[in-house]
Amino acid sequence: MYPATMKYLPNILFLMCFLAGSGYFAWQMRRIIRNIRMGRPLNLNNRLPERLKIMALVALGQSKMVRRPLAGVMHVIIYLGFIIINIEVLEIVLDGLLGSHRLFAPYLGRLYDVLIGSFEILAAGVIVACLVFLIRRYGGQVQRLKPTGDLKGWPSRDAVIILATEIILMTLFLTMNAADGVLQTRGVDHYIRAGAFPVSAGLQPLFAGWSEAGLVFLERFCWWGHILGILAFLNYLPHSKHFHIILAFPNTFYSKLEPKGQLPLDENVLKEVRMMLDPQAQPDSASSDTMPSFGAKDVTDLTWKQLLDAYSCTECGRCTSECPANLTGKLLSPRKIMMSVRDRMEELGRLREKHGPHYTDNKKLLGDYITPEELWACTTCNACAEACPVNIDPVSVIVDLRRSLVMESSAAPAALNAMFSNVENNGAPWQFSPADRANWIYES
């Protein structure tokens, strides 16, 4: 029995790593979904064909990414690398489980060479694109990517970890192929002739003098390093801005379908307004027990979609770079608004994990994470929402928080309070008499 166990030890080891990696990811996803569900309910399961089309265009087709050509093209390369190299990961996983080597090769024949060859070219493309991104980030030419302001500390480290990991994974992949290629030419047992190595062929001379055992070790080391790296990276995602590679799909699927200018009706307010307008109306029993709240003070007052928006944000800062308030030196940054929502959601989620699902601390999104000064700088121009490559809607969060400031705390700037009272009393935001409303007709 002993030799048999030994023979299958790598398979068993791989199976354990694979189950641990994907299991831990599933467990993390439960946490993420629970956090998103802290948001208010909202039914978005309508107009499915339209939603699928938006997802296909914006997430799969990257239509908004390429509006900025350099970043767009680089991103498409990395993205294609991610999607297409996953075919290779499937083979790697099956090889790991079955103890086979290049399982697909005999079935695919020439096509296999084409596939491996294109994976190599993509992998090299990914390395180049990641290097360009690192240079853009640390070369200081791109304001929104500088490691200051919104991106100070963790967000910038996060970005470097992601780019470095991708470079390492692709390097492992290419090195593995290089070693494999040398082993193949030497006709070593188990290393069948398969694949084309347009990129790693260039690395093969480096290993020409290596012994067979050394090459096998290198090939196995890179193989394990690559797949374990992928499993680790998968579990890094939920802690990172890189989560967008998954959440871009549901987030664009659940895009706002109404015109960008349309704000949602606050139903709690409508109940109150109807009661005010109709003296006969009875407060319904459900709402008479608890005071309804207006607008959003905390993440639990936002909808689940707004929370999904926050998790989908990859902190690219295109929103902030188009924001008129931010461009003119105001405190508001739409990116920071979404980052604050995520930070607060994570914090409250952790607390609720510990203390139960209804726990609240004495912190709030409004005030502790986002200040009124940020909120009052917004012109609701929707430049941020338009710029977002994954259709995040920061304006809705800003307006919901303003609603709380105004209707719960009566904390509007004095000038806006004056405007409110003019609208209420004169039917216009300025102090004119409603009786003079049509006087323009007679003026020359």
Partner: protein, 267 residues
């Protein structure tokens, strides 16, 4: 020009083909009143049977809503909807993109369903139907640029209608660097019009005016009363008001419009 109110028409047992929703700026702001006049004359020239609500019109509620006062918005909206539905209004045209957005997109949820046009859209329709004629020589040799209003452009995806109107009068439009989907706000939206800007390095309207000045236009065309105010202030800030005119689409068109001979006119 005789302008009737819907109430006056109702007294005659009539209902207008189109309601001109003037808006608060169009009613009270000096620069915007000129736009109201221009649009009024164009509607009349085109032979549209139109009317205004006059004293029965109230703020649409847009600035209250964007400023977070959902109560006040809903009160205003319900009140306006009651008036509009009472007169059985079906078609509305307005020169204010904020009113346009609110009436078109936000009133339906409260029971107000109308076909709402921004004046650029309605004027484009009238031009296409040949109901407004243009004397092409009026603005000949003048350079024009167009500032997209956020609530017409990004908020409602309408970038073509205002440009179609301008192209009837000018050979071409000299676009600013940021235009269309990427157009920079004038700084007035989201109720900023009614408050001081938050602390910053610059005013938004100055940033936008600088951009407009870079294309050296004779005319800076706008489609929103707030944009008109903000950019006029910007042009004044740079002491360019002698050289650059900030004008609404309706004003430009009204000046370029040729009177249609009585014999051909519908009325």
């Amino acid at each position: 020009m005789q302008i009737k109110t819907v109430a006056e028409l109702a007294a005659e047992g009539k209902s207008p083909e189109v309601l001109f929703w003037v808006g608060c700026a169009g009613s009270f702001d000096d620069k915007a009143k000129k736009v109201s006049k221009a649009l009024a004359s164009l509607l009349t020239q085109a032979g549209i049977e139109w009317a205004i609500l006059g004293q029965e019109e109230s703020c649409s509620g847009d600035p209250a809503r964007r400023a977070g006062n959902e109560f006040l918005f809903q009160m205003m909206a319900l009140q306006n909807i009651q008036v509009l539905n009472g007169y059985n209004i079906r078609t509305i045209v307005t020169a204010c993109p904020h009113c346009f957005n609110t009436l078109k997109n936000e009133y339906p949820a409260l029971g107000g369903h109308y076909e709402v046009f921004h004046h650029s859209q309605f004027l484009q329709k009238l031009l296409d139907e040949g109901r407004i004629r243009i004397r092409e020589e009026v603005f000949k040799g003048k350079k024009v640029t167009f500032h997209d209003p956020c609530y017409l452009g990004r908020a409602n995806g309408e970038y073509l209608a205002p440009r179609a109107v301008i192209r009837k009068v000018f050979q071409n439009i000299e676009e600013m660097e940021r235009h269309g989907q990427r157009a920079l706000c004038c700084g007035a939206g989201g109720a900023q019009m009614f408050k001081e800007a938050e602390k910053g390095l610059k005013e938004v309207n100055i940033e936008r005016t600088e951009e407009a000045l870079r294309v050296h236009p004779d005319i800076l065309a706008v489609g929103c009363p707030f944009c008109k105010t903000m950019l006029s202030d910007g042009v004044k800030h740079f002491e360019k008001e002698e050289h650059i005119r900030v004008a609404d689409l309706a004003e430009i068109l009204a000046e370029a419009a040729a009177p249609i001979p009585e014999s051909e006119s519908k009325n």
